[in-house]
Structures are given as C-alpha cells and as structure tokens.
C-alpha cells in the first residue's frame, strides 16, 4: 500500500511553522527597535516626517504579520493537527470501484479535499482525498483504500 502521510511530513510542517513564527518575532523586534530609535530623534522640525515614517513602517510590518499569521501559520497548525490525527489512528480498509471524483471542497479548518465515490458492491461510500497529494487517475478502477474518518491515508490499485 502506498502511504500518503509520513512522520517526516509532520516534521517538515513543524519546521515551516517555526520558521514563520521566528520570522514574525524578528520582524516585530526590528519594527519596535526601528520605531523607537526614530522616536529618540524627534524634534519640533522633524516630528511630522518621523510620524509618517513610523506610521508606514509599523503599518506595513503589521500587515505582513497579519498575512503570515492568518494565511500561513494558522493553516499550517491546522494541517499539523490533521496529519497528526491521521498518523496516530490506524483506520479501516475499503476496497471497491471508484465511481466518481469531485471537488476540491473545503473541510473544517481549511483542509481542502477531493471527494471520491467508492462503490462497495451495492453500497457506496464517500472518501476524502487530500488535495495537496497528487490524485492518480482512479476513475472506474478497483482500489483498496485505508481511511480514517473517511480521509484516505493509504491506497493500493487492485488488478
């Protein structure tokens, strides 16, 4: 069976997350120090210019931090939890023919997935395939999936 997730992936996500967090702290530090230094040189003549510089610098830094936090750090944390959950739980096996592939759709916590309709004889179940993983051309093929809460963690194409 081909596994979709590995502990290595978890380590890489953690690394990326830590890198963004440390970059954020460096940016905060530089902005605070920079603005404080400029404040030391305030006089009646240059106050308006320094105020504009400080406003621009702190606004830009804040925007970058908001962007990093909401669009990189938070989704990475969600993804880390998602992968952790899938690695810890063994899950069940489902073998059948893939009838339909649709999506991508967004599950809870911004995790993006494809929907696979799997026919198990008379029954049909829906499985979710992580959109960050390359989706092989499963349509009308017999495949065995390992899934945790309907989220595919491993697969094997049956002949």
């Amino acid at each position: 069976m081909i596994k979709l997730y590995s502990p290595q992936e978890l380590i890489e996500i953690e690394k990326k997350e830590k890198s963004y967090v440390s970059k954020s702290f460096v940016l905060i530090l530089f902005t605070v120090i920079g603005c404080s230094i400029l404040c030391c040189f305030v006089s009646e003549n240059n106050a308006s210019v320094l105020r504009i510089i400080n406003t621009i610098c702190s606004t830009m830094a804040g925007w970058i931090l908001i962007c990093w936090y909401l669009d990189f750090i938070v989704p990475m944390r969600h993804r880390k939890k998602y992968v952790q959950q899938l690695l810890v739980t063994e899950g069940g096996l489902f073998a059948g023919e893939v009838k339909q592939i649709s999506g991508p759709i967004t599950l809870e916590k911004e995790i993006c997935v494809y929907k696979l309709a799997l026919s198990l004889g008379e029954e049909e179940i829906i499985l979710y395939w992580d959109s960050t993983k390359t989706l092989p051309s499963f349509l009308n093929q017999n495949v065995q999936f390992r899934a945790v809460h309907h989220k595919v963690t491993a697969y094997e194409v049956l002949k």
Binding site: C39, V42, R51, T55, S58, T59, I66, C67
Partner: protein, 209 residues
C-alpha cells in the same frame, strides 16, 4: 501571488483596522513627544464673532518673545457657536493666559481673572489702552478692547458685532492661574514670568495692512 491577493481580500477589514490603529497610535505618541508645556507657551482665547486671528504671525514672531516661550497659541471661538461655553471652560479658563470676551461672559466668572494693579493699568494706558476697564468692587480685571457706544476698538482685526445681536463691550483679561502674568495683580506671591503681559502688549500694537 494569486493566493496572496485572495488572502488580502479575505481580511481587508482587519488590514484597514490595523492601519487606523497605527495612524491614531502615532498621532498620540508624537503629540506626547511634541507637546509644549504651559511654561513654554502663551495661550490666547478669543471669544468674539471672528473665525480667524489675523495677528497670529505678528504675535508669534520670535524676536520679541522671551527665550523660554516656544509658541503663542491662539484659540478663536465665535460666541455664536453652540459649544462656546464648553470651549471657554476647557480652552479658556483651563488653558488660556489671555482671554478676550464679551461683558456678558465675564460678570459671573470674575474669580477666573487676575486683578490688574495700578502700575500695570498705567502701563497699558500709556500704550493707548484708553477705552476703559472692567471693574468689580473697585478692582480692575480687564482692559476694554471694544466700546459698543462709540464703536471704537483697540484690536480692529477682530469682529465684535453681529447682525440681530445686541452690541456688547469686549475686554481683554488675564487668567488668574496663568504662569505668565508676573506681578500683574501687584501681589508678592506672583511668578517671575511675564510673557502674557508682553504678548498682550503686542496684540494692542498690531496694525492692519
């Protein structure tokens, strides 16, 4: 790049809120840094019918001001304004060293003004301030700057009348709490700084072009 643009669009309100917070924050901080203390400025409150103060540049000339004075602040508020009394309380009685007010606003608040000793009355009289004085119980508190009967004014750059409003006399007064009135009242405990008196004299000497 597309992802970034989408992300920015998603949190537009947050980015705008941050911009607003930073603008207000730095206005407050720099206001604090550049604030001029009461010792370093003379504040004038004008309560007439004017909306501007033509002599601002003239009374702010560094050459005549004492070294310790960084600026002369002028607050001009029209008597017609709805919030005039509130402005008078805050910027007038609270901050101003010199006040120019109509008679009706003076009589019930006499405790806010500094008495003017005979010595200083003579000094202003010699300068040409001969319209009259504001007196209560024999004590002089104000120098008349506009006379409603003769329509004469010592500061012609201000407006003292308005249509459909009864005419009033206007007076220049010194705030009792001012740090810049030296021994104006002739009392020993007064301070050494006399910038308010210097500025008042300057206001009387301004000539319109």
């Amino acid at each position: 790049m597309k992802r970034l643009i989408m992300a920015i669009e998603k949190h537009t309100k947050l980015y705008l809120a941050w911009l607003l917070i930073m603008v207000l924050f730095w206005i407050w901080i720099f206001g604090f840094f550049t604030r001029i203390s009461a010792e370093e400025k003379v504040s004038v409150f004008v309560g007439a019918y004017s909306h501007s103060f033509e002599a601002y540049g003239y009374i702010n000339e560094k050459a005549y001001l004492p070294e310790y004075i960084r600026t002369v602040e002028v607050n001009v508020h029209s008597v017609e304004e709805d919030a005039f009394e509130a402005m008078l309380q805050v910027f007038g009685y609270g901050e101003a060293d010199i006040l120019i007010l109509p008679e009706s606003y003076i009589q019930f608040c006499i405790h806010h003004y500094s008495p003017i000793s005979v010595e200083y009355q003579n000094l202003f009289y010699d300068m040409g301030c001969d319209l009259g004085w504001y007196e209560e119980q024999g004590i002089v508190y104000g120098i008349q700057v506009y006379d409603k009967n003769s329509d004469q004014s010592l500061m012609p750059y201000l407006e003292y009348t308005q249509q459909n409003v009864p005419k009033e006399n206007f007076y220049l007064l010194f705030n009792l709490d001012s740090l810049h009135t030296s021994n104006l009242s002739g009392e020993k405990q007064q301070n050494l700084m006399d910038a308010a008196i210097i500025v008042a004299k300057r206001m009387f000497s301004y000539e319109e072009n």
